[in-house]
């Protein structure tokens, strides 16, 4: 069938991909084989890669970017969704049926030292994929192919490097050897998971340059997984920003960097330490850290840290607990001791709920707790959480805070980019009055 290149399907198309890992709780539950929830490492990701493109998958640790890469290589089993390689569905294929695709999708990991078997010389290590895939029968016969791969990645003179062991090589040389092994089967897609993060500053540029050369010479397509926005900006055509298993913003690299939309993207960009002495660390950084993917926040996963969050972003009981605890780190010791006695165990707020009942301590009443909450609100009226509060009432044993309904943010087009944030969703905003 003759088709024009433009009408060819994308090289890789991922649709609504989910990779969840079951969690087993206590020993007893494990003994009974009972699952107690799951870590939603990748939670509904869609992306596509055209041939020859470099897509940067950027996120902090725990964002699910590495799991996404591993799922594409079937090193982790997807829970649901679709992965198409040149239009062919690969989810659900048996291992032997998937094997031909393995030749065409290769991966490079972060730690070149851990990626190479210390007991294999480069000849054996780099020639290994050829033998595993049954292309060449024995090690001796791989010499030409291994030599060509070594030459491509700059490890010459070949005769000298064929017999070297990983321990004889520097970090940069090891990563070159890993790249040689990745290209020896002539892949179409290279998933590069933090390929330069472990290398010294002065070496990173060389490896990135080599990757650019390889891409040009071998017509490669890259999925570049990183936490480093600076190399992504230099290296990628398009960027997808991941947070807690989802893509929160994606678009052409220039658009993401010149006009970041999602508050998370914007804060990532501001937080990068820059060697320019005229820049200082911003003080208004998002609080806290990436939450636990086994119990993600309601609504937008970023809302507990977001400086621009508002009423429909997903406020709930756990946020109130965090706020009370944060308040206690800021007040004098005596006031804390006093307030601590008036408030009961905050553990009850751990179960996510739109109705948060803050218990009173022994001998205290709901109105004591209500007074503390009122004082907190007076002291920091701009705290985004208050926008989500519909109602506060006090009862005998607790103060009850009711939050309004929340909406799940959807990845929607906005200009040249797509963003999953209510700030850019007119429909959602109108629901918020």
């Amino acid at each position: 069938m003759q088709t024009k290149p433009e009408s060819r399907p994308p090289l890789l198309e991922v649709t609504d991909l989910k990779t969840h890992f079951p969690l087993r709780g206590s020993f007893g539950q494990r003994l009974l084989g009972r699952e107690t929830g799951s870590v939603r490492a990748v939670d509904g990701v869609s992306l596509s890669l055209r041939r020859g493109e470099v897509l940067g998958l950027v996120g902090e640790s725990g964002s699910g970017k590495t799991t996404l890469g591993r799922t594409i290589l079937r090193l982790a089993e997807p829970t649901s969704g679709s992965i198409r390689f040149e239009g062919q569905e690969v989810v659900g294929l048996s291992e032997p049926a998937f094997r031909p695709f393995r030749r065409r999708i290769q991966i490079v990991f972060q730690d070149p030292h851990a990626s190479l078997n210390p007991a294999m010389d480069l000849w054996t290590a780099i020639g290994h994929p050829l033998i595993v895939h049954g292309i060449i029968k024995d090690r001796e016969a791989t010499r030409d192919a291994v030599g060509a791969a070594l030459t491509r990645v700059g490890l010459t003179p070949v005769d000298q490097f064929l017999h070297k062991y990983p321990s004889d090589l520097s970090g940069g040389q090891k990563q070159r050897a890993v790249l040689a092994r990745a290209i020896i089967l002539g892949p179409d897609l290279l998933v590069a998971d933090e390929p330069v993060s472990m290398l010294d500053m002065s070496v990173r540029a060389k490896i990135l340059e080599l990757m650019i050369e390889l891409k040009r010479e071998l017509d490669l397509t890259y999925l570049y997984i990183t936490h480093d926005l600076a190399t992504a900006k230099f290296f990628c055509d398009r960027i997808a920003i991941m947070y807690l298993g989802r893509i929160v913003e994606t678009g052409p690299t220039t658009e993401i960097f010149e006009n970041p939309r999602h508050p998370y993207t914007a804060s990532l960009l501001r937080a990068i330490p820059d060697p320019d002495p005229d820049r200082t660390t911003p003080r208004d950084l998002p609080r806290g850290e990436v939450p636990d993917a086994a119990a993600p926040p309601l609504g937008c996963s970023f809302h507990p840290r977001c400086p621009r969050a508002f009423e429909i972003c997903g406020w709930e009981s756990r946020d109130l607990r965090d706020l009370i605890e944060a308040h206690w780190t800021r007040i004098p010791e005596e006031q804390y001791e006093r307030e601590r006695k008036l408030v009961g165990d905050l553990e009850v707020l751990e179960e996510p709920s739109l109705v948060a009942q803050v218990p009173a301590g022994r001998g205290a009443s709901g109105s004591d707790v209500g007074a503390i909450l009122r004082r907190m609100r007076d002291e920091d009226p701009d705290e985004p959480l208050w926008t989500g509060v519909r109602d506060t009432r006090v009862d005998d044993g607790h103060a009850e805070v009711t939050f309004g309904e929340w909406l799940e943010p959807l990845l929607l087009p906005d200009g040249d980019a797509e963003v999953a944030c209510h700030l850019y969703d007119e429909q959602a905003r109108s629901k918020a009055r």
């Binding site: 500053m201 002065s202 990173r204 900006k233 230099f234 660390t281 998002p286 780190t329």
Partner: protein, 341 residues
């Protein structure tokens, strides 16, 4: 001008390997004043972590040290282990890269603080111990409600803040932080850098920040010392060093950083030398784009320069010691990729 908290003079640290002695730290000198942060930067293998460990008296067996580390009128080099141990904690605090490996996983946070305070300040009452601990933890944003939890119940960033709190609860005058943010994410890293900045502002603590990240140094440090092959090749105010780097290594290292404003890739050819057999003269000469006839022949002499830095490079003289023709350019040797880092 206040007296420096610590004064390091002609410090050398070397240790034996099967290939011969390694001169990991080779004649290094610097001062840190109260409330001042010195960033010690360099690539892996330059000796920066060995230097940090030497200052703390935590060198492995088989390592030897000479020179001076003057703290509070005492030279720490050659001090008996017992006296050093007494200094660590109340006088010299430490923050490491991996908070999880430094906190006892079987001890509640409360116990770790109590043990630390009881060891070093036996006169404190239980109440005072609790108060001191909670105060410093609150300063790090750790809520008092979590005082009785175990390390594994905290996130990576919180553990690092607990580690910092544990170092600060003894109110040390000098804190040595070895890659304190390397294992953390960008946003958490920025939070920790903010905390370290508050530290020197609020407590007048002197801080030695060891890192490979030049971006962090630019943002967090008053002064910076650039290490190469065991030597400090340039030292000065961060602003001066970043604006007008005087040593070719500093300049090339700054150019090779990939930052948001990078438009082309730059790198330093070759690799850092093997410290069992460093190149003659200036250790950087084989990789230096500005290499002159004198560079491989004579050891460079430390020179103060106009922009305020101290530099170890013949480009800046002293003129008197450069033989005639010494300033002529030396052909830079070609590097095969095979020799690279």
């Amino acid at each position: 001008m206040p007296d420096p908290v610590v004064s390091v003079r002609n410090l050398r640290i070397w240790y034996g390997t099967t290939r011969g002695p390694v001169r990991a730290v080779d004649d290094v000198s610097f001062d840190i004043k109260p409330g001042e942060t010195l960033g010690l930067v360099g690539e892996s293998g330059c000796g920066k972590s060995t230097l940090g460990r030497g200052l703390m008296g935590l060198l492995p067996e088989g390592a030897a040290m000479d020179g001076e580390i003057v703290y509070d009128g005492t030279n720490l080099v050659g001090l008996p282990a017992r006296e050093l141990r007494a200094l660590r904690g109340p006088h010299i605090g430490m923050i490491f890269q991996e908070p999880m490996t430094r906190l006892d996983p079987l001890m509640r946070i409360e116990t770790q603080f109590r043990e630390t305070l009881e060891t070093h300040e036996p006169d404190l009452s239980r109440d005072e111990i609790r108060k001191r601990s909670l105060e410093v933890l609150a300063g790090m944003g750790i809520p008092p409600t979590r005082f009785r939890q175990y390390p594994h119940e905290f996130s990576g960033g919180m553990r690092q803040r607990i580690m910092i709190a544990l170092a600060l609860v003894l109110r040390p005058k000098l804190v040595i932080a070895d890659e304190p943010t390397t294992a953390l994410d960008v946003l958490v890293e920025a939070q920790i850098l903010g905390i370290l900045a508050d530290l020197k502002r609020n407590f007048d603590t002197a801080l030695l920040l060891i890192t490979h990240n030049l971006g962090i140094v630019a943002e967090a440090c008053d002064n910076v010392a650039v290490m190469y092959a065991g030597q400090i090749v340039e030292e000065g105010r961060s602003d001066d060093v970043y604006r007008t780097p005087a040593h070719p290594y500093t300049r090339e290292l700054l150019r090779s950083i990939i930052s948001l404003s990078t438009t082309g890739l730059q790198y330093i050819p070759g690799a850092p030398p093997d410290l069992t057999d460093p190149p003659s003269g200036c250790h950087f000469h084989p990789r230096c784009p500005d290499v002159m006839q004198v560079c491989p022949r004579q050891d460079p002499v430390e020179m103060p320069i106009e922009t305020g830095q101290r530099v170890l490079c013949w480009l800046h003289g002293p003129e008197k010691q450069i033989p005639s023709g010494g300033r002529e350019k030396l052909e830079q040797q070609e590097f095969a990729l095979a020799d690279e880092a």
